[in-house]
């Protein structure tokens, strides 16, 4: 039964991705650009959900991992101009390393303290970027000499399929035997330990996977935007947006993060005429969704389909 549900969700997901692949045939470059951004944000949100929804650890600083990946790739390109693929790989690797360095001590702490540690990590990174301006571009931002492509359609398709592959891997992981152990470790570490599972090992693995996808997406984003700045990649506000996207999309669903990210970006675009008020309205709507539908969009969708 469960395997059937998993297969059905993957099938529906694949159909949506294939349909979305035809969007460049008629959509404007502007819309494609927005969606490209939304897809990268979707990956951020999915990677975050693996940690929160499954390992049970609230990472308040997803942008720490994203920022390390993005800036590593960007700085490397600025200094030595190696092939872009190498920069991106280095970014992902750096995010994983930074993740391990952060998680090893942080996982010794429990509950809110883990979250606080991750929050402080973002502030440290942010300060580093601002202070080390000759390397990072400081508050003005870092401009990279290369981009992957200048075609909106190509960028759009790369983001779409990157998101699809990341989503499939993360979703599959979450439903596999390791996903089950991870969920047990997150919900009741004492019991998981008594059943013979090394809880720290599994949580660390989840952190590494989350860091890998966050860093990879961050590095790709730099070579799409052609620049990296604290405001778009590192700031706490960005962390909060990722968390909101994952939660309104649906906690513990992985794929819900994509829905949440598309919703957030579409909404702030649709409400742009409101000016400064638009963020306020988006956050208020997110609050309503969290209060009324704690299982998020994805929970809502799968529930109605099960009832039908």
């Amino acid at each position: 039964m469960r395997a059937f549900a998993t297969a059905r969700i993957l099938l529906v997901g694949l159909s949506v991705i294939v349909l979305a692949s035809f969007l460049p045939l008629w959509a404007t470059g502007y819309i494609l650009g927005l969606l490209t951004l939304a897809y990268y944000f979707g990956v951020f949100a999915m990677a975050w959900d693996l940690l929160f929804g499954f390992a049970g650890e609230v990472n308040f600083g997803p942008t720490f991992l994203i920022g390390v990946g993005a800036y590593t790739a960007g700085i490397l390109d600025n200094l030595y101009q190696p092939p872009i693929a190498l920069c991106i790989a280095a970014g992902a690797l750096a995010a994983v390393t930074a993740g391990v360095v952060l998680a090893l001590p942080a996982l010794r702490l429990h509950g809110p303290y883990f979250g606080l540690t991750t929050l402080v990590a973002v502030l440290i990174l942010q300060n580093f970027v601002v202070v080390d301006a000759h390397l990072t571009g400081g508050e003005i931002g870092l401009t990279v000499p290369d981009v992957i492509s200048i075609s909106d359609a190509t960028n759009y398709l790369i983001a779409l399929w990157f998101m699809a592959v990341s989503g499939a891997i993360l979703f599959w992981l979450s439903r596999s035997p390791v996903g089950l152990i991870l969920q047990a470790s997150g919900q009741d570490a004492v019991q998981a330990g008594a059943l013979g599972f090394n809880v720290t090992k599994h949580k660390l693995a989840a952190f590494i996977i989350s860091a890998f996808f966050s860093g990879l997406a961050g590095a790709l984003l730099v070579f799409y935007l052609g620049s990296a700045s604290v405001g778009t990649l590192v700031d706490i506000t960005v962390s909060v947006q990722i968390i909101i996207a994952a939660v309104i999309g649906g906690r513990r669903t992985i794929l819900g993060g994509v829905l949440g990210a598309v919703f957030l970006i579409a909404m702030s675009e649709a409400l742009r005429p409101l000016g400064d008020l638009s963020n306020f309205v988006v956050f208020a709507m997110a609050l309503v969704v969290v209060l009324l539908f704690p299982s998020g969009f994805f929970g809502l969708l799968t529930r109605t389909r099960e009832q039908a």
Binding site: R2, P177, V178, G193, A194, F197, V199
Partner: protein, 493 residues
């Protein structure tokens, strides 16, 4: 598992654990051989559950040795101890709620590896076999939340035996089970013993485990006080003193001795409460005079807690509740509590991370400083153990001490009417006696009014001036405690 001839066994010696200044376990030793059951009994707070956690590595011992099959495992993390062949059945069921019963059992069968991306079909077969053995075959695809309590316990035991442990620790195996379920559970535990496992049963009473155990060790405040066969331990003088304590004299005051006969302090008239379609209270009428101690006796689910919650203003009701003649309808729960009607709920609701002192200070927040200090001093005199534990976090107290703290915190609010909901729940007799004595002192030295809900009749009667019996949402009897035994029959005694 490696060699069939190897005898599974558990050996513990000199095991010691301190929590702050409190020595929870002091130099405990025990041994269980293959195919044997050892009962570890003791009243609440005696340290028996801590011993089990120390063996399993959930808590780290401060000193002592734990050997599983001859291997020293003291101080190891619990996942390594589990892999050495120890398994634990927790008292409270802790399933994964979003997964089915089958998935919960499957979890326990998985190896501790990071690279299992596909489910092994053999795992599924084994999970189903284990489910069949414990009697869960019919509910494999259900979620735990939809299952009765006994099935949740079965999931716990299924998970524990999935690891094929040679040493099996079981915490309060029969808590909350009916007689029939208990019998089935005992049989299952005996089968596991017959497989050649070493079983450690932890429980409050010798009686409940007497028929299954080979030997029993009795604990009290962290130390072993007796060891032997179930009969020997039951006859042991120290054990009897710890469990049975001294007897109390009853001194019910006649209802005519209270001066507010016309308008009692609290009058509940024809009150009915519905939960959806279910009727939780059916035309209940009771009254309590100022200064009176009244017990409401009834089994689980009879409506005691509902009655208290209704009086506290937490539930909508039909009928009338009057305090000193004035209706309480329309008053918020907070207003009723501030007015002096204070409820100590069954769940205790302490702030577990705050110290004993902080919990008490919080209860007395509205009192002027001098008066608060005076009230605390009086409460420490009433419950001396709380004085000794002042700086300890409430969550680390034993069940009995938590109950005393709950009552003390309620008394900090200087209530006119104190409603105690099942204060004896899960407590051993020696603790009951301490709470008993405190209640008796309240009755004799203060003007406080007490409404006590209990299923434990031997606790409820000695303190009562008057008793109500509640059954299936109705009050079926009212009278003096002395007449209770004769008129209500043996159903409760």
């Amino acid at each position: 598992m490696s060699t069939a001839e190897q005898r599974a066994h558990l050996e513990v010696s000199g095991l010691t654990k301190r929590f702050g200044g409190l020595v929870a376990v002091k130099g405990m030793s025990l041994a269980v051989g293959a195919g044997k059951i050892l009962g570890l009994i003791g009243p609440n707070g005696s340290g028996k559950s801590t011993v089990m956690k120390l063996i399993m590595g959930i808590e780290r011992p401060d000193a002592g040795s734990v050997r599983i099959n001859g291997v020293e495992v003291a101080g190891w993390p619990s996942h390594r101890i589990a892999r050495m062949g120890a398994g634990i059945v927790f008292q409270h069921s802790r399933p994964l709620h979003r997964q089915t019963v089958l998935e919960n059992i499957t979890l326990a069968l998985l190896p501790d590896k990071l690279m299992q991306l596909f489910a092994d079909p053999q795992t599924d077969v084994r999970a189903r076999a284990i489910a069949a053995r414990v009697g869960l075959s019919g509910v494999l695809d259900r979620r735990p939340a939809t299952l009765p309590f006994a099935d949740l316990r079965k999931i716990e035991i299924a998970k524990a035996i999935a690891r094929d442990p040679q040493v099996l620790l079981i915490d309060e195996p029969f808590a909350g089970l009916t007689a029939k379920e208990t019998a089935a559970f005992s049989e299952l535990i005996c089968e596991l013993r017959d497989d050649g496992r070493a079983v450690l049963l932890v429980d409050h009473n010798v009686k409940s485990v007497a028929r299954m155990v080979d030997r029993v060790i009795a604990m009290y405040v962290g130390e072993r006080i007796a060891e032997g066969s179930a009969d020997e331990v039951m006859r042991d003088e120290t054990v009897r003193r710890v469990y049975l304590g001294g007897s109390l004299e009853t001194a019910a005051r006649p209802e005519s001795s209270f001066r507010d006969a016309a308008t009692p302090f609290l009058a509940v008239d024809n009150v009915s409460v519905h939960y959806g379609k279910a009727q939780a209270l059916d035309n209940v009428s009771i009254h309590i005079h100022a200064g009176e101690f009244v017990s409401v006796v009834g089994l689980n689910g009879a409506g005691k807690t509902t009655l208290f919650n209704t009086i506290s203003g937490l539930l909508p009701y039909s009928g009338e509740i009057r305090r000193e003649g004035a209706s309480l309808r329309g008053h918020s729960a907070a207003a009723i509590a501030r007015g002096g009607i204070v409820q100590c709920s069954e769940g205790r609701d302490l702030f577990v991370y705050m110290s004993v002192r902080e919990n008490l200070d919080l209860g007395g927040q509205h009192l002027p400083t001098a008066e608060r200090a005076e009230q605390i001093a009086w409460l420490f005199d009433l419950f001396p153990v709380l004085n000794a534990r002042q700086k300890q976090a409430a969550g680390t107290l034993s069940g009995g001490e938590q109950q005393m703290l709950t009552i003390a915190r309620a008394l900090m609010m200087k209530p006119k009417l104190l409603m105690l909901d099942e204060p004896t729940l899960g407590l051993a007799p020696v603790i009951l006696e301490q709470i008993s004595k405190a209640l008796e002192r309240l009755r004799q030295t203060t003007a406080i009014t007490v409404l006590l809900a209990e299923q434990n009749v031997t606790f409820a009667l000695p303190h009562a001036d008057r008793v109500y019996v509640i059954e299936h949402a109705r009050i079926v009897w009212e009278g003096e405690p002395a007449k209770f035994a004769a008129e209500m029959g043996t159903g409760y005694l």
